[in-house]
């Protein structure tokens, strides 16, 4: 099945303008309603996160049996997920800048992962959110590791991309951290390794700080019990990586999430931009805590339309966005967490193979490259 851009042209220009205006109005309504409720929400989440981290690390340190140790690892995982998703990611989008709280300022916030915040603001807030799902421009689409659309020519290594997917998920924070390196552009010779030295310096500084905290400082504090702390912290980081990767893959790589061509998005109007964000994103349903643990990226559509509105407002905005979509007869991609994730796995599987019916044609050609003839 072809995921092409032409769906973007389905609405007439006038309709797109109207569509854009309605969403702008919704945005304005939300902004003028921001206040104590939103400040209380983020501060409560921060309190929960801090208590779970303190309790988690204490339990890992002083656990007397595997059960209390595992509880500690669980709490530390929850703390890390909350910090990365509902707090860090959202704060760095500028969702709480209006509070004038120096600890919650988008441009200075530093989060609990190996990825340097400044690098994240550049690759995620700017690149990914501006060029969402535009092939070749949005490097988050497959992360240069996975082939997820037919626009990307098939190569034999894609046959094993499930393994790459597993590795990427397990080490997701490192993948995100290295994202600004743009290895594929270096390989293509568009940029040189030298251009990336400032980034590498920043990354090394942040990553070594993180690694020192979780794998040196806290284990050493435990003296002879260092190994259980080391392992506990590693598992908490792994849990966080697997969870965040899964959530993020559900945001843009589901069955019906569309991709776009660069030339189709030139001189985009506000309405077109909203429309592309809608078509390129997908939501999933769940209870309050699933939404919080996913940083409300379960409302990926609303997040992409309104990246700087406090995320806990997305549920109420979602009912309005759904209605607007119904009015214009355009799709609103949502489903249960399980069903959406299933389509992600199907996509990874489907594109590990060349386009239908071409395997017999493409494979020998590709393999021939590797044969010493």
């Amino acid at each position: 099945m072809d995921m092409q851009t032409n769906k973007l042209k389905l609405l007439l220009p006038d309709e797109l303008d109207e569509f854009g205006k309605e969403l702008d109005q919704l945005r304005q309504e939300m902004i003028s309603d921001l206040g104590q409720k939103d400040a209380d929400h983020i501060r409560n989440i921060i309190r929960t996160q801090k208590y779970s981290e303190i309790a988690g690390r204490t339990l890992i340190h002083f656990s007397l049996n595997p059960i209390s140790w595992a509880a500690g690892v669980g709490l530390l995982s929850v703390a890390k997920i909350l910090e990365n998703m509902e707090i860090g990611h959202n704060v760095m989008h500028g969702q709480y800048d209006w509070m004038n709280d120096p600890d919650l300022q988008s441009q200075t916030y530093e989060w609990d992962t190996v990825c340097d915040s400044e690098s994240w603001r550049n690759t995620h807030n700017f690149e990914h959110h501006t060029y969402t799902n535009i092939l070749g421009k949005d490097r988050d689409y497959g992360y240069d590791v996975l082939r997820l659309s037919d626009e990307d020519p098939w190569k034999p290594r894609h046959l094993f991309q499930f393994i790459n997917y597993g590795i990427l998920s397990a080490f997701f924070e490192w993948g995100v951290g290295f994202h600004e390196l743009e290895i594929s552009r270096i390989k293509r010779g568009e940029i040189t390794f030298k251009d990336k030295i400032p980034f590498i310096k920043r990354f090394t500084k942040k990553a070594s700080k993180q690694a020192a905290k979780d794998y040196v400082l806290f284990p050493l504090l435990a003296g002879p019990f260092a190994p259980k702390v080391f392992v506990g912290n590693a598992i908490a980081n792994l849990n966080r990586n697997l969870w965040t990767s899964t959530i993020i893959f559900c945001g843009h790589f589901t069955e019906d999430a569309q991709t776009f061509r660069e030339e189709d998005c030139e001189n985009e109007t506000r309405g077109q931009w909203y429309y592309r964000q809608l078509l390129g994103s997908s939501n999933f349903t769940g209870n309050k805590w699933l939404h919080i643990m996913s940083g409300h990226l379960s409302y990926q559509i609303e997040h992409h339309m309104f990246p700087d509105i406090p995320a806990h407002r997305y549920p109420e905005m979602s009912s309005r966005v759904t209605k607007i979509c119904e009015k214009y007869g355009i799709p609103y991609n949502t489903g249960s967490f399980g069903s959406q994730y299933k389509t992600v796995l199907e996509r990874v599987a489907r594109y590990s193979l060349p386009p239908e019916g071409t395997l017999s044609r493409v494979l020998p050609k590709q393999l021939a490259k590797y044969l010493p003839i």
Partner: protein, 397 residues
């Protein structure tokens, strides 16, 4: 006779124990100094550890905060129909103030933090004795913070304050002085006069306090009491509604030797300007005048007159680089910064990514994407979609 070895040894052990005590106490002093220095160094850094320690301290008691200075509201006193005094007990790390200085207070209103400067109206001596300070706030019509303080603050509440600042303080050399106050400009001056009242070396002191109506005079009873108990302090209330604005002639009449005095001025901008002019006319040397301007009160503007703000002579000032550029009410802040030869950080140039966020210290703007008005209060602005209206200052470029 030789002292018996026993006595000798006990004497020696006595001396030794005294020495030990000295050593111990100096060791303790040294250790305390060392620990204090370490603690100070620890809190000068900003890091994960600090944020967790701060969090736990504040959970236990907000007054223990180390990254900010908390102050507990002890009492709220009604001074006039539009002014209240807030009696505050700052947390222990607050370092005190000089009479005449102000503090920056921070309050959270509907989730958003606001900061305002208010002069301390009490004396440093009172703070040393009781650990409390007073600020007196005259409510401004439509004033967001001053009205909030009145409606929301009660004894037991916690606000946050800055170290004291400002150079509107008494001169070291005791000289005859004249204080000129209008409106809430009396607050730093009361502190200075109370301070002088405690000083036996003071010289003649006169206060001319200009107010619209008699009931607008803040600290009226306290000032009258001071003038009765202290022979060389003269308190002259000047009521503008019946007596008109203070003129040169009136000032000369109130204080014949004005040219020989140190002047201390505090009040609204218009008052300060005319007082300066009068004083110079009356032969007061410029260096004898000390003043504190309260500036224009900022209000929570919701609508604006666009015509008055899209003045062609408006300037955008980038204070870090010192560059200035004319704004025309059409170009965005990002475009203006670039035409001024600056290299601001940016991303999408479309209001999405917040990469170009700038810190605005003065002025109003328009969000070109939504037509939304960006008020004086809002300090963080997206440069790529913000159009300066009138004069604007940006601190980070």
């Amino acid at each position: 006779m030789k002292p018996s070895p026993k006595i000798f040894s006990s004497q020696r052990s006595f001396t030794k124990s005294i020495n030990n005590m000295y050593a111990a106490s100096s060791a303790i002093t040294f250790a305390t100094h060392y620990i204090n220095a370490l603690t100070q160094k620890f809190w000068q850094q900003e890091g994960t550890l600090q944020s967790y320690v701060e969090f736990m301290l504040c959970e236990f008691n907000p007054m223990l905060s180390r990254q900010r200075t908390a102050a507990e509201v002890i009492q709220v006193i009604t001074e006039t129909h539009q002014a209240e005094t807030y009696v505050l007990r700052p947390a222990s790390q607050w370092k005190g103030f000089q009479a005449g200085q102000y503090i920056n207070i921070e309050v959270e209103i509907n989730g958003c933090r606001y900061r305002r400067n208010y002069s301390v109206s009490s004396t440093p001596e009172e703070f040393e004795k009781t650990g409390i300070i007073r600020i007196t706030v005259k409510r401004v019509e439509e004033g967001l913070v001053s009205n909030y303080l009145r409606s929301a603050l009660d004894a037991g509440d916690i606000i946050h304050i800055s170290p004291a600042g400002g150079d509107f303080v008494l001169k070291d050399t005791p000289n005859k002085s004249l204080f000129l106050a209008a409106g809430s400009g009396i607050t730093p001056i009361l502190s200075m006069i109370e301070r002088l009242a405690l000083d036996p070396a003071r010289s003649e002191t006169t206060l001319i306090y200009s107010a619209h109506n008699p009931e607008d005079i803040i600290f009226s009873e306290r000032l009258s009491a001071l003038s009765e108990s202290i022979p060389d302090f003269k308190f002259i209330p000047h009521i503008t509604r019946s007596e008109g604005h203070l003129t040169t002639a009136a000032m000369k009449a109130y204080c014949a030797d004005i040219q020989d005095r140190s002047l201390y001025l505090c009040g609204p901008n218009g008052f300060m300007e005319s007082m300066n002019e009068h004083a110079v006319e009356l032969g007061v040397p410029k260096e004898a005048i000390k003043q504190e301007s309260f500036g224009a009160p900022s209000t929570n503007v919701t609508a604006l007159d666009l015509d008055t703000l899209t003045d062609l002579n408006s300037q955008t000032h980038f204070s870090k680089s010192g560059k200035k550029i004319q704004s025309d009410g059409e170009k965005t802040l990002l475009e203006l910064a670039e035409s001024a030869g600056l290299k601001p950080k940016y991303g999408c140039r479309n209001g999405i990514c917040h990469e170009c966020k700038c810190t605005k210290t003065k002025g109003q703007m328009l969000n070109k994407l939504t037509g939304e008005f960006i008020s004086e209060e809002q300090s963080q602005v997206q440069a790529c979609i913000a159009i300066p209206l009138g004069n604007v200052s940006i601190s980070n470029l």
